[in-house]
Amino acid sequence: MNAAPAHGTLSAPLVVEFPFTRSLGPVQSAFLTGLRERTVLGVRTADGRTLVPPAEYDPDTAAELRDLVEVGRTGTVTTWAWNSAPRRGQPLRHPFAWALVRLDGADTALLHALDVPGGPAQVRTGMRVRIRWAEERSGAITDIACFEPAADAADDSTRPAARPHSGAFADPVHGIVAEARLDYTYTPGRAQTRYLEALARHRTLGERCPGCRKVYVPPRGACPTCGVPTAEQVEVGPAGTVTTFCVVNIKAKGLDIEVPYVYAHIALDGAGLALHGRIAGIPYDQVRMGLRVEPVWTEGGRHPDHYRPTGEPDAAPETYQELL
């Protein structure tokens, strides 16, 4: 989390990552379990088409589809693209073709990778390909490692047709875990950069709206009620008043704070609205509205670690009612 010197505003990496747990429903469960067993299932529509991969609902009629069939593991490329620089998460590490493949017996095409060591010159629409199975299969689309060229010159008439399948397998998979990680660069913008730079010197700079004259802390670039930029910097605090609070008795995920503790709204002196912070240095059951507090910093902290009582008399209610 460093300033980007080129333009003086802050930026920092932001990673959004979660293992999503997806339940499948019967059709997708059968299809993905089938892949684990090296069996490819499709689904038949009322008008006799075979959709592979199997859809739960007919794209044309919205009818629920449950009539499973087994199709071939060899098929025909209907279109392709050469991916010379594979990205994170894609099926192969080395250059490969993305391909839509219509498996024998199917009327629609499935998207997957096609491994052709000879490069794009060896790929063409209409080429015959077959599934290369992953060595370890768990019941996921990645159980197909990729497609690979098939030396199969058979004409359409000799190819296997789809045949009925119950969809039943031993130990079916009902869910998948979909790991998803995306990397972002977060840029908080000019107003927050100004605020954060001052905060690093333990000074709190709000910004005043040229219209309503209210002081915003932290400033967000615009006065939210007037819709105009704020620019005039105004130092507020360091002390402030607790306007309201709650006592937190359960640990929040990822926060290493001993419970119970007080989470409070604090109106810093001179600010037009309250910000939030933790109150310490006083028993939690003695925190009250109107309590006067000041920030306590820890080494290297970007924000005050907590606020503690100043020892001043409590603020009169009329001084903070508008900020509540």
Binding site: L32, W82, Y186, R190, G227
Partner: protein, 379 residues
């Protein structure tokens, strides 16, 4: 007000956009958005509170933060509270929602805005998250690769050739030289472009849009209010019709060389009205060159229609705003008298899955020169 085609008259009366850039990383989203909001409000003389309805389009996945649109609302000045809504989609769909609100008669004016900092994440990877989460998303097929599959299908079907695609790229970026908001301007000749290597074959770099950060806003108004707000010397761009249609999600069940949803939306929007002349201008949401070929066919555009005179998404592609910008650009051509009839298109989803078509007209296009003159006197 006049009710035409069974619908009341609603017009685009002001449009503003940012100068689109590769990374607006010195600005927060609201800082990027604020100037265009101020610009359209000032041009119409409206305050946020005087606007009857506000609707925006943006996407949390672009920002990497949940509820990212709530902070953008700071730029509007929503106090006292305003009648407001948001779509998790391109701003063109926010415009559709606002248009409908005006059609109900519950509002006479609407502010529509959209923004996207496509640079925040790795856009082609981010867009994989909008794919079927069971069969597709686990493979991380990026948006450029999917467009390449569509382009190959069109090439295979004889619907285009690489030279035509390079020509589209060159024409778009050369046209963008006249667009002060464009990000990529000017282009080598089509022949020169074809000498470059493939990026994701059959796509070359020129077939692919830039990654852009940007925002746009426009104001809609009904009937006489539209005439009053659009400003001296400018004409309301009447929305003659607007419609959107979605297709099946899976690429393997669609004919990637055609866009039946665009054709249907255009038909419903009145584009093919036999009484009306062909559009003078088409602003098409075509991030990839081959998509222009697909859409020209679906929209039945002939040589008399200038396609993407702004340069289109190949010159600036702020995701979530790029579709709204097409409508704004088309409206601008009508507003300044350059076009009497224009068509705008916006798309969403992989390989043109979801398409919106708006037909915009000046008074003249619909009512003939006589009534047009009368309108100008009133203005």
């Amino acid at each position: 007000m006049t009710i035409r085609n069974g619908l009341p008259e609603v017009a685009v009366v002001a449009f503003a956009q940012t100068a689109h850039v590769r990374a607006a990383d010195d600005l927060s989203e609201v800082e990027m958005l604020l100037p265009v909001l101020r610009e359209v409000l000032e041009r119409t003389g409206l305050s946020a509170g005087a606007v009857d309805f506000t609707c925006s389009g943006s996407c949390d996945y672009l920002a990497g933060r949940a509820f990212s649109f709530t902070m953008a609302l700071d730029g509007v000045g929503a106090w006292p509270p305003i009648s407001e809504s948001h779509v998790e989609a391109d701003g063109a769909w926010a415009l559709h929602e606002a248009w409908v609100k005006l059609l109900t008669g519950r509002a006479e004016t609407a502010l529509v805005y959209a923004y996207g900092k496509s640079s925040a994440g790795d856009l082609p990877a981010v867009l994989t998250r909008q794919l079927d989460p069971y069969y597709l998303a686990p493979l991380w097929p990026d948006s450029v690769s999917l467009a390449a599959l569509q382009t190959r299908a069109l090439l295979d079907a004889g619907g285009t050739d690489e030279r035509e695609l390079a020509g589209i790229a060159a024409r778009s970026r050369n046209a963008a030289e006249a667009n002060p908001y464009a990000q990529l301007t000017g282009s080598p000749s089509a022949d020169a472009l074809l000498e470059s290597d493939h990026l994701v074959g059959p796509l070359r770099l020129h077939d692919v849009p830039p990654v852009s950060d940007g925002a746009a806003a426009l104001v809609l108004a009904a009937g006489d209010t539209a005439r009053r707000l659009c400003g001296t010397g400018r004409r309301p761009a009447w929305i003659r019709g607007m419609d959107h249609r979605i297709e099946a999600h899976s690429l393997g069940v669609r004919d990637l060389t055609d866009s039946p949803s665009t054709r249907l939306a255009a038909e419903r929007a009145g584009l093919f009205d036999p009484q009306a002349p062909p559009p003078d201008v088409a602003e098409l949401h075509t991030p990839f060159t081959a998509q222009e070929v697909v859409l020209r066919k679906a929209l039945r555009l002939g040589p008399g229609t200038a396609v993407n005179p702004s340069g289109g998404p190949l010159a600036a592609n702020p995701v979530m705003a790029a579709g709204l910008i097409r409508i704004g650009e088309a409206a601008e051509r009508v507003a300044c008298g350059e076009a009497r009839r224009a068509v705008a298109h916006a798309t969403s989803g992989p390989c043109l899955q979801h398409n919106l078509v708006a037909v915009l007209e000046s008074d003249a296009a619909a009512d003939g020169p006589g009534s047009h003159g009368a309108e100008e006197e009133r203005g």
